[in-house]
């Protein structure tokens, strides 16, 4: 047995070492947040939100079309993913105890681990190749495929949290089973599901990789789902890898806008889930 002094020293050493882990993890985070804030606010102006991108060499210009494009893409994605994801979640919670449920659960688990770029290839094959052109629809579909697994899982979890007595009470009053699921169980779980939706939307809005070859990019305003569309994330990417100093500044500013958008959605989700927890108490 080593001396007590040595053992205490080793104990202290590992405490400090694990503390170093915390520091190492937080330094990049703080550096990143600081730079996005400081670099991003330097060029922030109202016209950045409302104007089209300016050509190289010209000052001014913004990412207005990218912001609109991101909203369009997320809207398309939500229109596809919300019914499918929530529907799958309801199915899993209500009827998913058999072999079919296990199979679906396994598939969603696998799907949630699939890299987003691979999802992009799938959307390319399904939409771009058939339509012979890049489109917002393809990008939206790719984002939807990314949202479905997480939505299905969290919907299932929240529905399983609904007290059984509530369901039984409704059934005992003679309400049919489907109506109970829809009007009683789903409504009770709604708060949780909204949180899950917000988080999924935030993730989709920050996604870049599958958009590169589905919605591509666009220098102009676009609201047509069958046309290529700009998005904030792809614009950040293009600005960042460009050789122009001016565009690098724009990349930081666009990153700030994206971070604010994603942060806002996350914050909203957080506030909602906290309110619900307090209400349940």
């Amino acid at each position: 047995m080593k001396s007590l002094r040595w053992r205490k020293f080793v104990d202290r050493f590992w405490t400090v070492a694990s503390g170093a882990g915390v520091v190492l993890a937080l330094v990049p985070l703080l550096s990143l947040l600081w730079l996005v804030l400081s670099q991003g606010t330097a060029n922030l102006s109202l016209s950045f939100f409302t104007h089209l991108p300016a050509p190289v060499g010209e000052s001014g210009g913004g990412v207005g079309n990218g912001i609109v494009g991101t909203f369009l893409l997320v809207a398309i994605a939500s229109a596809i993913a919300l019914p499918v994801g929530i529907g799958a979640g309801v199915f899993l919670a209500e009827k998913g105890d058999g072999r079919v449920g296990d199979a679906i659960r396994f598939v969603t688990e696998v799907l949630s681990g699939v890299p987003s770029i691979v999802i992009g290839i799938v959307a390319y094959g399904l939409v771009v190749e058939r339509m012979k052109r890049f489109s917002a629809l393809a990008g939206g579909l790719a984002l939807a495929l990314l949202m479905v697994p997480t939505l299905a899982r969290s919907t299932e979890e929240f529905i399983r949290l609904v007290p059984g007595a509530l369901r039984e009470a409704s059934l005992a009053l003679g309400v049919p089973k489907w109506k109970t699921s829809l009007r009683v169980v789903l409504r009770t779980a709604a708060g949780g599901i909204v949180t899950a939706v917000l988080l999924a939307v935030a993730r989709a809005a920050g996604e870049t990789a599958p958009l590169l070859f589905t919605s591509l990019n666009n220098q102009y305003w676009n609201l047509e789902p069958d046309q290529p569309t700009a998005s904030l994330t792809v614009q950040i990417f293009n600005y960042a890898i460009s050789p122009y100093e001016d565009w690098h500044h724009k990349a930081w500013t666009a990153a700030l806008v994206l971070l604010l958008l994603v942060g806002l959605l996350n914050l909203l989700a957080r506030v909602l889930s906290r309110n619900r927890m307090e209400a349940a108490r």
Binding site: W14, V118, A209, F213, L258
Partner: protein, 286 residues
């Protein structure tokens, strides 16, 4: 529910490439020259594995340290802010990590870290060549930062499942806090920590944007970590939209299939390990 059908689509697309190029030839070839219709996947597989390896080597010790600090050793007042920081880290879009990597991490590596490493360990082949910043090391480090929240949060969950009496027993027998952790907590949680690392690895393999922006994008194989390379997701991201010719497109889709296979395998393994811990009865727990 349509999920299963969609996976078939990917398979169909890339089968075409395997057919035209030959499976072995495709996977083991190291020439990638779309102009001459030469498609070898090896530089990308190599780059993906090397960068993910670096990421794991860096992220796992840091995450385990962080998780132990948060759940066992650190002051309670720090727990909430640090946990919040980790959540924020997890929510940041990957393209912003890439931006930060390109303009902060890469210059720092080029001007400070790589010359220093070279001065001390320059005789090793891993630290050979001019320090240009862009390359395997930069990509590995940015991946480490990105998978850290995954590994750390799963590790924290795993540590929570360690039965308290186990640790209390060790403490009651006179062990110091670290000894109790080393002899009871860590052995019990080990399979789960391995599972957390595998989940992180799965994320690292598929991460696209940040890697694309800092790896240098050269389809070559180098022993040196300073050299520019390429990874599976990065080449798909860069070339897919502009790919001309059916073979090029389906070769890229085939790279996607390789990537898909790797991640599915890893994720399945990780989930099995984590489930084994959370259901108790791990091997080797005293």
């Amino acid at each position: 529910m349509t999920a299963g059908l969609i996976l078939a689509e990917l398979g169909g697309q890339s089968l075409l490439a395997f057919h035209k190029l030959g499976l072995i030839h495709f996977l083991a070839g190291s020439d990638w020259d779309p102009v001459q219709d030469k498609f070898g996947a090896l530089p990308f597989i190599y780059g993906t594995l090397v960068t993910s390896g670096i990421a794991l080597l860096v992220a796992v010790p840091v995450s385990v340290g962080l998780a132990l600090f948060l759940s066992e050793m650190g002051p309670k007042a720090l727990r909430r802010p640090v946990a919040f920081g980790i959540e924020v880290l997890a929510a940041i879009p990957s393209v912003i990590f890439g931006l930060w990597g390109l303009f902060v991490l890469v210059p720092w590596l080029r001007d400070a870290v790589e010359p220093a490493l070279q001065a001390v360990l320059g005789f090793l082949p891993f630290f050979d060549g001019p320090p240009i910043g862009l390359g395997y090391l930069a990509a590995g480090l940015i991946l480490a930062i990105m998978i850290l929240p995954t590994v750390a949060s799963v590790t924290i969950e795993v540590l929570k499942t360690v039965p308290l009496p186990l640790k209390e027993g060790a403490l009651a027998l006179g062990a110091t806090r670290w000894e109790a952790i080393r002899m009871t907590v860590l052995p019990y949680a080990r399979p789960g920590i391995v599972g957390a690392a595998l989940l992180g690895l799965g994320r690292a393999l598929g991460e696209t944007m940040a890697v694309t922006m800092v790896i240098g994008n050269a389809p070559e194989i180098h022993a040196s970590l300073f050299a520019p390379g390429y990874s599976l997701p990065a080449v798909i991201a860069n070339e897919f939209a502009e790919a001309t010719g059916n073979v090029h497109v389906s070769a890229l889709a085939a790279l996607g299939l390789v990537l898909f296979g790797l991640t599915v395998l890893l994720n399945a393994l990780a989930h099995l390990l984590i489930r084994a811990v959370s259901q108790g009865a791990p091997r080797g727990a005293p």
